[in-house]
């Protein structure tokens, strides 16, 4: 009943969405010219497209994109694992949280991207500084969310498990871990967008690979269209990562009321 009523409006929304995209692209193509904005400030959509094709053919664009994407993935995965482990450890041990929280807070307040030059000094123009910045920036939202989730578990559920003679590990595996999943995924969504930032900053600071390098190269050459292409591709990497997270989340958290309602 509900779904039948929702069907036409969803379709209408889709049409609206596509129309909006066309309007946007048209505005991008012709409005700057109408207002007399030169192409080196805002290159029209067609110029950016041409530049994209040119870069594909001459600037090893696929190679640079893949490098950046792999660094994002590596930084994301490592940062998530680290954030999850530390989040659970701090969540389960009052003592660990008490002793470590000042350092973690300091590290959280410090602007993570500012570490990029330091990492370049340490590791040179390799992939490591980029991955490391991403790890650092991804770590916090994941850790904070997991920590908060472990803290928020109803102690009576843990007591119930213990009354069934659960070991410490069983309490973790059967109660704490699954209970932390919804906030964990909320952290992952934030982390997915941050991972791209971390890698780009690393690439801007040093190196000759990746989309961040093409950004600085385009800037130096006064090639605005190239900068646009790099920005769009970076955004796409972020969108793909985000979509993968959402897809996994939908599978793992299928039991949540809102999702269950959508399915049935």
């Amino acid at each position: 009943m509900n779904a039948m009523m929702a069907q036409p409006s969803t379709q209408r929304m889709m049409i609206g969405s596509v129309l909006l995209l066309i309007v946007f692209l048209a505005a991008w193509q012709w409005l700057p010219g109408l207002f007399g904005i030169p192409a080196f400030i805002i290159p029209p959509a067609s110029t950016v497209w041409d530049e994209f094709l040119h870069m594909l053919a001459n600037d090893r664009l696929v190679y640079h994109t893949v490098i950046t994407a792999l660094q994002v993935l590596a930084g994301f995965v490592l940062g998530v694992i680290l954030g999850m482990v530390v989040g659970f450890v701090l969540g389960m041990s009052q003592a660990a949280e008490f002793m470590l929280s000042p350092y973690i807070l300091a590290l959280q307040i410090a602007p993570k991207v500012a570490f990029a030059p330091l990492f370049v000094i340490w590791f040179g123009y390799t992939v490591y500084p980029k991955i490391l910045v991403a790890v650092l920036i991804v770590f916090f939202p994941v850790m904070i969310n997991v920590l908060g989730a472990v803290r928020a578990i109803d102690p009576d559920i843990v007591r119930l498990a213990r009354s069934f003679t659960a070991s410490r590990f069983q309490v973790f595996w059967k109660v704490e871990f699954p209970a932390a999943m919804p906030p964990f995924f909320a952290g992952l969504r934030i982390a997915a967008t941050l991972a791209v930032i971390g890698v780009v900053v690393g690439e801007l600071v040093g190196g000759n690979t990746g989309l961040g390098y093409l950004l600085t190269f385009g800037e130096g050459a006064g090639n605005t269209a190239m900068v646009f292409v790099a920005i769009i591709l970076l955004t796409l990497i972020g969108i793909v990562l985000y979509a993968v997270i959402v897809a996994i989340e939908n599978r793992v958290l299928h039991y949540l009321p809102a999702r269950a309602r959508k399915i049935t």
Binding site: D156, S163, A179, A260
Partner: protein, 261 residues
Amino acid sequence: MSAIRLEFRAVTKRFPAQRRGDAPVTAVQNVSFTVADGEVVSIIGPSGCGKSTLLNMGSGLDPATSGEVFVDGERVTRPNEHVAFMLQKDLLLPWRTIRQNVEFGLEIQGRPTADRHRIAEELLVKCRLQDFIHHYPHQLSGGMRQRAALARTLAVDPAVLLMDEPFSALDAQTKMVLQQDLGRTLADTGKTALFITHDLAEAIALSDRVLVMSQRPGTIIEEIKVDIPDRDNPMERRKSPKVGPYVSALMELLHIDQAAA
């Protein structure tokens, strides 16, 4: 006289003071009682009299400050497989289906999958939840969720069930239906139960004996044997003319009229 399943022997529980300088709080003082095999005993008392503390000590989650608790003659020092508890909150895990929730205790105790499924499904039929085996807790009503919690408690086949106001969050009618379910199930399975409640009528409808506790420090001030037939049928029992006098006697003991004046 049948065997003693649960025994509290001179149990006292003191909690350390919240603030420095305060005296430690004695929640329960010198409590002794026994529950025989197949018997259902209720504990009633004013709020904060340490009823739940008794239950925690019985389940082995909290040690007694002094005195001992025995289940089947074995001293309770930590959680064990002979006791299972059930609270006002159903504590169903939202990421598990109803069957998986019922299997929770069995899983922790390492029972094989086939056994777990068989036991869970049998109990879910008994608790009239057979159509909801693969549903998630949020898809069930409060009464159904509490029935699932009962099935989870029974699944581990405990010698003694400890129940802490399991129905107090339910509406009056659902509550009566669940009391009926519980009364039947306890009679069918011959289980022993210690039932904590503040509902006088509930205590009378469900139990063989009612223990009355005093204000903190809680101690047992009276034991009342409920001499009404149909313990396996609380619905019928409630209709008995004998219920009224029992309720009056309990009200007297708890000084409920004075609290209202």
